[in-house]
């Protein structure tokens, strides 16, 4: 006669095993910790992605910090984090050290002037060519609004004081320049620059997409300067950007001069957990999170598959 305790023990073992076995088996039951650090520009998006990722894989611990694109790159290259968030182009010396840039999101910088600018009518009608912008922001050869069609008044050029992707993107828009080359009063932070231009009728600055629009319209008090990319002396339909939707379209089309690319950087190919996170970010679910956050432009399908191929 088998003892009752033995039957109970076997039944218990069977129950436990079947309960475990009946859990849905995910392709990889992901666990472990994933760390990201870097650009302020990507940080809010990464936090939202991290939260969604953690919902899917509760055993994964996300550790996301900001600190600037430079810190992100440095941390990724020494292996302090799994993924570095870098909101600017990766250069040759960094690639030589093993940086693998994965395009993750697109953004844009937009030049701005105040609505009370002396030359605003002409600027809105004819736009500004890249050369004019270069002369104002980099070379300093145009210093008066009279040269752009307004009354005689000095141009107050503003730029970002903190080392940031927006400034390097703006400098790159104007030519092969770096943030150091940008002239002007340095104001701290995107909102600071916006406030400075809004307040100063003689001011000219630039902002990221998410700051220059409030809701669907351009933020109050400022006007986006149309960049005359094809130098035809007038503002074509695709050069006029006066709503958030138009900005998204312009950046996504690849033809907007001020478009910027933002990257996740890993040292060599990403590890399993990092790869899963990047695949999530580039998936439809990730794109939905991106659209909910707002202020970023997702990649096209072909761009996404190209990036996914990179990390396989």
């Amino acid at each position: 006669m088998i003892k009752r305790t033995t039957i109970a023990a076997v039944l218990a073992a069977l129950t436990v095993t079947s309960v475990i076995a009946s859990q849905p088996v995910r392709a990889a039951e992901l666990s472990g910790s994933l760390s990201l650090s870097g650009a302020w520009a990507i940080y809010p998006l990464a936090v939202k992605w991290g939260a969604a990722f953690q919902k899917l894989y509760p055993k994964v611990k996300m550790d996301i910090s900001a600190g600037g694109a430079g810190k992100g790159m440095a941390d990724a290259l020494v292996g302090a984090v799994d993924i570095g968030m870098v909101s600017r182009e990766v250069d040759r010396t960094e690639r030589a050290k093993g940086a693998l840039p994965i395009l993750i999101v697109k953004d844009g910088v937009f030049p701005t002037v105040s609505v009370r600018n002396p030359a605003v009518k002409r600027i809105v009608a004819k736009g500004m060519s890249r050369k004019t912008l270069q002369d104002i922001c980099i070379k300093g050869t145009i210093v008066n609004w009279r040269a752009v069609g307004g009354r005689s008044a000095p141009i107050h050029v503003y730029t970002r004081s903190d080392a940031c992707g927006a400034a390097s993107a703006w400098a790159a828009t104007l030519g092969r320049y770096k943030q150091d080359d940008l002239k002007g009063i340095g104001v701290y932070g995107d909102p600071g620059l916006l406030a400075a231009v809004r307040r100063d009728p003689l001011g000219m600055g630039y902002n990221n997409l998410s700051y220059v629009f409030s809701g669907d319209k351009v933020a109050s008090g400022i006007v986006i300067v149309p960049i005359d990319a094809n130098n035809n002396g007038k503002v074509d339909a695709d050069e006029r950007i006066d709503s958030r939707e138009k900005a998204y379209k312009a950046v996504a089309s690849g033809r907007y001069p001020g478009a910027r690319r933002e990257f996740f950087v890993t040292k060599g190919k990403p590890n399993t957990l990092a790869r899963a996170f990047i695949e999530f970010a580039l998936s439809d679910a990730g794109t939905k999170v991106l659209r909910d956050v707002g202020g970023y432009v997702p990649l096209s399908k072909s761009e996404k598959s190209e990036q996914l191929r990179k990390i396989k």
Binding site: W40, G67, G68, A69, G70, K71, M73, A74, E94, P154, H156, Y158, S161, D162, A163, C164, K178, D180, D181, G184, I185, G186, V187, Y188, G192, A195, A196, R199, D200, G203
Partner: protein, 291 residues
């Protein structure tokens, strides 16, 4: 207890040594005088001259001192000698409250209030009426200037100076005042000739404390000072103090070779300036006492 005291004392040395160690790569490739007196700051071209930043720090601190010191000395004299106990009990906590406001809040306030004040009112006034005075040239005024940085710094160091100065004045024994009145001095004469003379060392210590705080104040200043690495020629010009340089570029310092060494060298220079200032002030105080 000795150990903890020694530890606190040694901390300054430890920090200085660590900063020096991280600055070595830069100091090795360029001479120290080229770094400190160099007038060009262009990291992407390999130029790391800290001259404009040292001068910028000096300008902003000087403006802050010129505004704050007379104001605070008079305020502390009022609080210590003239104010009724009830008035003092209301005003002192209010002033101490100012010391607790975070730097970034001061910066936001200054960007909203002081910068437009300078751009729309003080600048045009100076341009119209004060053209002759070289340091007040206001041709190109955006509001982001040495003056804005100096004003916000002055507001931030006032509570420090007033607090210490008022304590120092109150610490002068009442006997001194009684003796002075007894020989027929008026209240003002007593204060200027007796109380202040007795408290002079302490007042100077209060000023030194305030200025040390001003030298290192970062966030509030960088939000309003304009951050242009050029020598200011007027108080309405922008400047770029050392703490602002470090705070602005900390995020990207790994991206250009020698950039991190340059920023840590700037930190070392700032530390040396503050230490030098404190040591000099201490020497003056000690010599004043021994006389």
């Amino acid at each position: 207890m000795l150990a903890t005291t020694l530890f606190s004392g040694m901390l300054v040395v430890v920090i200085a040594v660590a900063l020096y160690a991280r600055s070595r790569p830069l100091i090795a490739s360029k001479s120290l005088s080229a770094i400190i007196f160099g007038a060009n700051w262009k990291p992407s071209a390999g130029e790391f001259g800290l001259g404009p930043f040292i001068i910028g720090t000096a300008w902003v601190t000087a403006v802050a001192a010129i505004i704050a010191v007379p104001l605070c000395i008079f305020a502390s004299i009022y609080l210590a000698e003239y104010a009724a106990p009830r008035t003092r009990s209301i005003l002192k906590p209010l002033i101490d409250l100012l010391a607790g406001i975070p730097s970034v809040v001061y910066g936001a306030w200054a960007a909203l209030v002081i910068v437009p004040l300078i751009a729309d009112h003080l600048g045009p006034y100076a341009q119209a009426h004060l053209k002759r005075i070289p340091l007040l040239n206001a041709e190109y005024v955006t509001g982001y200037s040495v003056l804005a940085g100096g004003i916000v710094l002055a507001v931030m160091i006032c509570p420090v100076i007033i607090s210490v100065a008022e304590e120092v004045l109150r610490a002068v024994p009442q006997d001194y005042r009684d003796a002075s009145y007894a020989v027929g001095a008026t209240r003002l004469e007593t204060i200027t000739k007796v109380v202040i003379r007795r408290a002079l060392r302490g007042l100077m210590a209060a000023v030194v404390l305030g200025i040390s705080r001003a030298l290192g104040e970062t966030m509030a200043v960088l939000m309003v000072v304009g951050n242009v690495a050029a020598l200011p020629k007027s108080v309405f010009d922008p400047a770029y103090p050392l703490p602002a340089l470090i705070a602005n570029n900390y995020g990207e310092m790994m991206s250009i070779p020698l950039y991190d060494s340059a920023l840590l060298c700037a930190a070392l220079v700032l530390l040396v300036i503050v230490l030098f200032f404190n040591v000099a002030a201490r020497l003056v105080l000690v010599r004043g006492a021994s006389r």
